[in-house]
Symmetry: C2
Subunit: 212 residues, 2 copies
């Protein structure tokens, strides 16, 4: 049975059953990757399937072939984005042998992220806000938020460990703090405020010893 003549749900089920699963999912991720480009550029509100298709090597029909609808596509994008994101600081955590090394590695990665991946991160904040309106996003968004909280907690725990102490705050509070600072710095950075990054770094440098 051709995939197209059935609903997308059945299509996907059939594909999974038919051992084409891996290929099918690989294609979905390819498409999600292409979609993330345009989404990062325009944001959720202004991005249409046709716009996504035009900025990619695919035609708009393919997206309908692989995704049951627009929300399905965006959800897949969000999930895919997550995988890229949550391990960002793990290498720093694994290799740092002192508080100083961890601090400098963390700050360097933070700077690099703000400089080169601002678009992806504003999309994250966009989608997290959308989740407040669109229930279909909530599960994935809450899951990613949890992963990010765990990521921050790994950094803080390691930092504390390297000084022989324990973090002075809860995982939730630490994540809220760093996420809030990052979000604010991102907005200022996107508004061409050149002090945004240095101020963020100074703030984090000041905070790390007091809260971890």
């Amino acid at each position: 049975m051709a995939r197209q003549t059935t609903g997308a749900a059945q299509r996907i089920a059939v594909a999974v059953a038919a051992l084409g699963e891996e290929k099918f999912n690989a294609r979905r991720i390819e498409l999600a990757d292409a979609a993330l480009e345009t989404l990062g550029e325009l944001g959720f509100a202004r991005t249409s399937l046709r716009e996504i298709a035009q900025n990619s090597a695919f035609t708009h029909g393919v997206f309908h072939y692989y995704f049951s609808n627009k929300l399905d596509l965006i959800c897949c994008c969000v999930r895919h984005y997550k995988a890229k994101c949550v391990t960002r600081y793990d290498e720093v955590v694994a290799t740092a042998q002192s508080r100083d090394q961890l601090t400098e590695g963390f700050l360097a990665k933070l700077t690099e992220t703000l400089r080169t991946e601002a678009r992806m991160h504003r999309l994250w904040y966009d989608l997290r806000s959308q989740a407040m309106f669109e229930a279909a996003f909530r599960k994935d968004v809450l899951e990613i938020d949890k992963s990010l909280e765990a990521m921050i907690w790994r950094i803080a725990s390691r930092y504390a460990e390297l000084g022989g102490t324990r973090p002075a705050s809860s995982p939730a509070a630490l994540y809220a703090l760093f996420d809030g600072l990052f979000q604010s710095a991102l907005l200022k950075h996107l508004a061409d405020d050149e002090k945004a990054i240095p101020e963020l770094l100074a703030e984090v440098r000041r905070l790390l010893p007091t809260i971890c």
Copy 2:
């Protein structure tokens, strides 16, 4: 000269010059208020001028008469929203005579806000995210962010003062922390997580003595 036959910029200039300014602006705010209803319900991405008009006592043409375009309307909404927002905790700050009173007043207001104004606040987070994509929003959003930071700072300063100490963090860090916690609690609350509010309260209660 009739307002409609000129561009909106001129129209507004003419209105201002013609002493109709107050009436004109009052009408704009009335319209912005109506628009905020729908925006809070649907979010920026899904809200159209017609939808706004249908959920209000006005026809869609009126919005074009009072605003040069959709962005102009939304900007006005954001600015108007600000005024409602930034004084929320001032009464608590002014009347509290002890740390306990301030804490309880703050937490009560926090709860009330989450319970009764979740829609307005998700809209704020939505618009702040939009500002990362749409430059036209940035100035207003950054300004509101500053006002909110100052609002948090007033609370923290007063809390410290009531204990004869000084806040242990910068205004930026304190705002990032509370904003991050609130944002996370709001999302969970909207996802029908009944622990969202109590957990937020517990976290804030724990944090206040350590950071202020």
